[in-house]
Symmetry: D2
């Protein structure tokens, strides 16, 4: 279980890292949406391996095939199925860890849970699965675009190197201007250097992605358990390697007084807006029409080119060392995944919201 | 929508702050569980208002009534319905804000979403709803106890006053020893003083709760979208006033190298354990048998005894000032809510896990 | 599990026949719906025991209490909770069968499934639970009324006494004109006599209810697994004592040729209609704008005032004989239940349909 | 929506009749199940077109490709994805009805619902979709086999030609002995002749399939809304062309007295059994350990080789006549579909039942 996401705009993904393919089925995409396949490929390209010198050098073209649900360029309301065939699946790279539990990977826990696991490249636990989400998210984005909702995620921290400027002071159109996907050039350059240094050490490092959602109308999100930020948080925490989520003032807001933190209302023409936005665009779990922003923490990639103590499936001590081609830092390629998960949450919320009033 | 939580151990809550009652229905509690009603009342008492000088002075006995699902002291497998009747519902306290949007409350967003709202005490958006979760969580805890799973949450930060000791160096049996629910006496005293000072200023302040789950067997959690930590995070973010969630190394782990962060495996007798636990007891979204620990950030309470600029329902400028009886800091009373949500997630995961192998 | 119904207009029921109360929570009723409490009570009265000489003489006023979700007479979009307290719960009537499995009741299967059961009056398996559905259904009906959708169910067969006239030739406003709820006076009188004779024999008898749904717009129902008739059928089969469901031409349609059975399209003014309606208003699982009609088969009530061979919980042979106050034929009181389940299906389909197009 | 089925053993199907492929994703198949691919192909072959002279002569090999979820011959607990590529998709056969609404097809209702439709061969509404369910059902069957549960469906009626013998007097191993899948040779021959005659007339005819489930343990099925027979009924009504479902005594049971219909309990060795089985193996919605049996009514196929009056998309009168290659009677090929849906319901119930007791 656990391979589906969303209630009305609902996706189900499948596939293993080194199996035949990964794929996704979207059930609930509204009919009549023009589907731009280039947008889908563009998002996949942003996530694909081998895209720059700071990502894994594994090569996957990550071309997708639409199998159903689109007719004469438009969604028909029936399930949209997309497949991405695995091409550069060098399973032999993994035979050396078939019987070993790699530290901080999912080898041990999958074995404990299921009593069986596809050890090739982490099987289902590999972040390769996220390509399927990115493809589905790209369709959700097209739905959101019809409602003038925008999604901009960017790398705001690598290791302890943190971009201190708030998103409002950045040019969010510059995210793709560099390979680390940080819209502040100087910081981006330092981040790239840090990642390269780390890679040369055979090591890995963590990072933070900041997400900004603009144009979200007031009223999205459901009370109590499905608050909009609870859905966003659950979605982000479902991305591989994520260790934390905060929105609006987040953990820093803890130290504030209510009198500082409260966002007073005022009018701007016809609209009711807030003077500040510590709420992060969500109050009581429902969007208030202001920008939604959040931060997602990613741990350092578990695969490193160093010897590590571990245990094998028979319980004997062993040594594990990464081979193959891995990312020293996951955040540059995780930006489109954060975008996709945000798009899926918003698309679902948007559809749910249609049934909420008489 | 959004008022249900869980897949197999599934709860649905209802009720408004100043309506007749709040309540919960649990569908899926296994049959044959002995239900200790004192445990339920104990958890409700930990959450109830008026329990100490640092909480709201509103009086609610929060006694619960079991309406169904329990026969001769045991669960029967049919829905367990529990009701908590509202007693001290002074609706008049709220008439002054019937037409005003209180800053950083849910007044505006509920109005925008539904076009109608029960303004009395925040209606459905009030944290009073969490009493229903606490009652349900207390039953989940009894199920977990049968599996020797323990849950201990405590206040680890109030404002910028932070308990730096990790949970391993604390006596988690001392959580109830003081009214702020911080198991470190000196820190607790400072926290209490800070909360009292804040209250006297008519202001409010945020805080952090740390949760520790012990005895969780390896194998809980579902891959991809329903990772155990994604479920925990989504659950915590669904609690009123929560702004962030992190588990294991969390946001701090971002700055670490993989070689530091990876948790090497070793044997301890029959068990495979990890030498460190930056993973926070979860790898690939599935529990690994180590302690699970996480932090939950709460913003300062929105209701303060100070004048604030706002807008009324007709769009005219107005001033809002809190009256009534409110908590200056939410975390002491939120500890049993965090416990409850953690219990609900684990109970559900435990049941789901029964179907996972042939 | 299994105590919830619907996806967007979702109800959860709870309560046992001789427990404290039965109740229902509706999550997803759109905000702004004026709730007429008399309509709810009217539907409950149609289902309540003791209403006529051909039903059980047990007395339950079946008054309901609204606990949440309605403010100033309108739904607020938050969960609507309704409770019906059990008043005439003579548990002692059932002590004689506490350890016995009544033939064709759920005693044995509940015991096998759960290892424990509330034997008083059948506990959760009692048809008393359906009062909760009727209350919820009455709210769904008010939503449907806003869309000019009508629901008329009536008794079309008791034992082998069958009303042969199709619904088009009946006055559906006459359903409440007699106690058996058959709109054809002569047939109704014969049915009443048959039921009374059966009751005097200490026996019971089955029946059929025909449902007619008018004004349903084209487009309701979801493809493949959630066809509108599959949802209606599943809903009806979930009513106690139901053994069969057919819609449109049903089982008789089997003997027809395609050339007879196909419903040709024609225009009537602006509308596209069908000349015949063997399809029963649903084609490919989606409503086509014509009347929807169906038949629901109810078995004879299992409780009879005769000696029957059985087994007790220890496995020893025993004799069971009904006591207490029971219906000799379930269909007169089941009419409002069929109405309610139909209303719940349509309300849910109507809401789901809002998200289906761009 | 509506393209998923099941709660724990959950399938999602996709694909159109004349698109690239149809497929299915199973989420929740327990890990460690040996998957026999021949069984899957065997079930697909039973459903495939062109298998005999009484089915459509369209040729589809219906070979399936497993894309994920199986490793070294066993299920891994991750989603199992299977694809069946469309090969003999002669879309040109359908161009003549692109703008016309075929009577009693889903053309009109899809157009009304979605505002767009893939008209080629009925698109998503085509029974071709059921191949995906058959593939998934074949895996469910392998799970059931581990629990010694058997499923046997057969054709019991074609037109008004009805096999009057109950299933107990038939040799259920003889179902595959003839092309109509009726285990009674003389009746089968008459059915075949009737179907052939009908086909020569360019017409179609309906039929009934009887399903028999053996070895189902007591305790399956959930109370109230998800009674085992409600799930079976909903599943069967979700199959194309189905108009009715009854189980146990069904519609005929209506005419019985309770004293005749009640199934008295008795002991047979260690087991508690019923002397009769009018209940059809289910009491109170939960299996009682006896055989489960039911009947499913199929209407005559809508596509016939005769002129029929209709309307085109612009609202103008038109004439429709079937071309292409169609089944004159759907039941012979529907037997494996009934088997598959029954298997999916039972597999899901079996998994759900694991969480029901402490």
């Amino acid at each position: 279980m656990g391979n589906s996401f969303g209630k009305l705009f609902r996706i189900t993904t499948y596939g293993e890292s080194h199996g035949q393919a990964i794929g996704v089925v979207i059930d609930g995409c509204p009919a009549g949406l023009e589907i731009d396949q280039e947008t889908i490929q563009h998002q996949l390209d942003r996530r694909k391996p081998g895209q720059s010198r700071i990502t894994t050098q594994r090569k996957e073209s990550d071309e997708f095939q639409i199998v159903s649900g689109i007719f004469e360029g438009k969604s028909t309301g029936t399930p949209i199925s997309m497949i991405i065939w695995n091409k550069d699946a060098r399973s032999k790279d993994y035979s050396h860890i078939a019987e070993k539990f790699r530290p901080s990977h999912a080898d041990f826990t999958y074995q404990e849970k299921y009593g069986i696991r596809d050890y090739r490249g982490g099987g289902r636990s590999s972040a390769r699965e996220t390509a399927a989400r990115v493809a589905a998210g790209a369709i959700a984005m097209q739905l959101l675009k019809e409602h003038n909702i925008g999604i901009s995620s960017y790398v705001s921290q690598v290791g302890s190197l943190k971009l201190e400027l708030p998103y409002q002071q950045l040019d969010l159109n510059a995210i793709e201007d560099n390979i680390v996907r940080c819209p502040h050039r100087e910081t981006a350059e330092a981040m790239i250097e840090l990642i390269e240094t780390t890679r040369k050490q055979g090591d890995s490092i963590g990072g933070v992605i900041t997400g900004v959602l603009t144009g979200v109308p007031a009223g999205l999100g459901e009370p109590v358990f499905e608050k909009l930020h609870a859905q966003l948080g659950g979605a982000m925490l479902g991305i591989n390697a994520v260790k934390g989520f905060e929105y609006g003032s987040g953990f820093e807001g803890v130290s504030m007084k209510g009198s500082q933190h409260n966002d007073e209302f005022e009018r701007q023409g016809d609209r009711i807006v807030t003077k500040t936005n510590y709420s992060g665009g969500i109050q009581g779990g429902i969007s208030n029409g202001q920008d939604i922003y959040f931060r997602v923490a990613f741990k350092p990639v578990a695969t490193i080119m160093k010897d590590q103590q571990s245990i094998d499936q028979k319980g004997a001590p062993t040594v594990v060392k990464g081979r193959g081609r891995h990312d020293p830092c996951v955040v540059p390629r995780a930006v489109p995944i954060v975008d996709a998960m945000a798009a899926l949450v918003l698309a679902d919320s948007l559809l749910l919201n249609k049934s909420i009033r008489l």
